[in-house]
């Protein structure tokens, strides 16, 4: 029977399939009804205007809207922090941006959790919490006692948050991979430079550091904007079944 319903065009099935299946379950069709279904499918193909094309609801849910706003706020703050840090470092000064760093981490966490489908949010949230706690332990320790992986851990956490959030957007796979590459790929030269003792030298070269850190913040702005614009759909054009008012038009 499903094969006969499969003869109908997609928009028609999106609108009537559930009802028709229910009707056929209540009253299994004989030969005459099967032929009537075939004729009905032919009629549906000949008159596509009878059922309005399926329109995707692109309005973001409040949860996704919050994720988009948090991503944009986090990305903007990251950009501001980067500029301050690089400008000060280039003039030989230092700045304590720990609180701002925590705010960025909080905003990006909100973005990632908001962008995660509700059923999976608990697991993602637990992973983020563990990473944040480890990072927090590293932050509060005196610089001399800081465990080596603190900075890499922070960057991995940021990259992971960006990955989780990016997967929720309607971007194509190659673009998603590019953004994830920014999240994970760009910070690592900084880590390697830090481990090699080159970070102070890098800090004194704004022309190198600023674009590096800006691209990362920019990626968050793009992801946040997309969440707000396309409703956080996994694929563009993913369709929701149309409601009665859309059909009656």
């Amino acid at each position: 029977m499903s094969r006969l319903i499969g003869l109908y065009p997609g928009p028609w099935r999106a609108r009537y399939e559930a009802e028709l299946r229910d009707l056929l379950a209540a009253r299994p069709p004989g030969l005459a009804e099967r032929l009537d279904l075939v004729a009905g499918a032919l009629d549906a193909w000949l008159h596509p205007e009878l059922v309005a094309p399926v329109v995707a609801d692109r309005r973001p849910s409040p949860r996704v809207r919050l994720a988009g706003l948090a991503a944009i706020a986090g990305g903007a703050l990251w950009l501001a922090m980067s500029m301050i840090l690089v400008v000060l470092a280039s003039s030989g000064r230092d700045a304590d941006l720990t609180i701002a760093g925590w705010v960025v981490l909080l905003l990006l966490t909100v973005a990632a959790l908001g962008a995660t489908p509700p059923g999976r949010a608990r697991g993602v949230g637990a992973g983020i919490l563990v990473a944040a706690l480890l990072f927090g332990v590293g932050i509060v320790l005196p610089w001399e006692l800081k465990p080596l992986p603190v900075v890499p851990l922070l960057l991995v956490v940021f990259g992971g948050l960006l990955t989780i959030t990016t997967l929720r957007t309607g971007l194509s796979r190659p673009v998603q991979r590019a953004i994830v590459g920014v999240g994970f790929g760009l910070p690592f030269p900084v880590v390697i430079a830090g481990l090699a003792g080159l970070l102070p030298a890098l800090g004194s070269m704004p022309i190198v550091m600023l674009p590096l850190l800006s691209v990362y913040g920019g990626a968050w702005l793009v992801v946040g904007g997309l969440l707000l614009l396309d409703g956080g759909r996994r694929r563009p054009g993913t369709a929701a079944p149309i409601g009665p008012t859309e059909v009656a038009a």
Partner: protein, 107 residues
């Protein structure tokens, strides 16, 4: 069948039956099918039923309500009720006219 439903072609007669079926309240597809069968004495195929429902929705004669489980009820709109009344009055006039002629011929 007057001009209002004639443009529906082979779906004109099922449409009239469905309008009558919905005139006493909303019904879902299966209930309409059983009711039309009781009214007309002939089964209404599922393809014809949903072909007619799609046309009726498109013309604003009926309105789909929120589904209950998997069953979506349909109700008559104001336009649907007006159209049904016009159809039935037209048929009643035609019936009277035909009966009068038949009586005249038998005298």
């Amino acid at each position: 069948m007057n001009q209002g439903l004639a443009e529906l072609g082979r779906f004109a007669e099922p449409t009239l039956y469905i309008l009558v079926s919905l005139s006493d309240g909303p019904k879902h597809g299966y209930a309409i099918m059983l009711d039309v069968e009781a009214i007309s004495g002939a089964p209404l195929g599922p393809g014809t039923l949903y072909g007619a429902l799609a046309r009726m929705e498109k013309r604003g004669l009926i309105e789909a309500l929120e589904p209950v489980d998997r069953r979506r009820p349909y109700k008559l709109t104001g336009l649907g009720a007006t159209t049904l009344r016009a159809q039935l009055e037209g048929l009643a006039g035609f019936t009277r006219f035909g009966l009068d002629r038949l009586r005249g011929a038998s005298r």
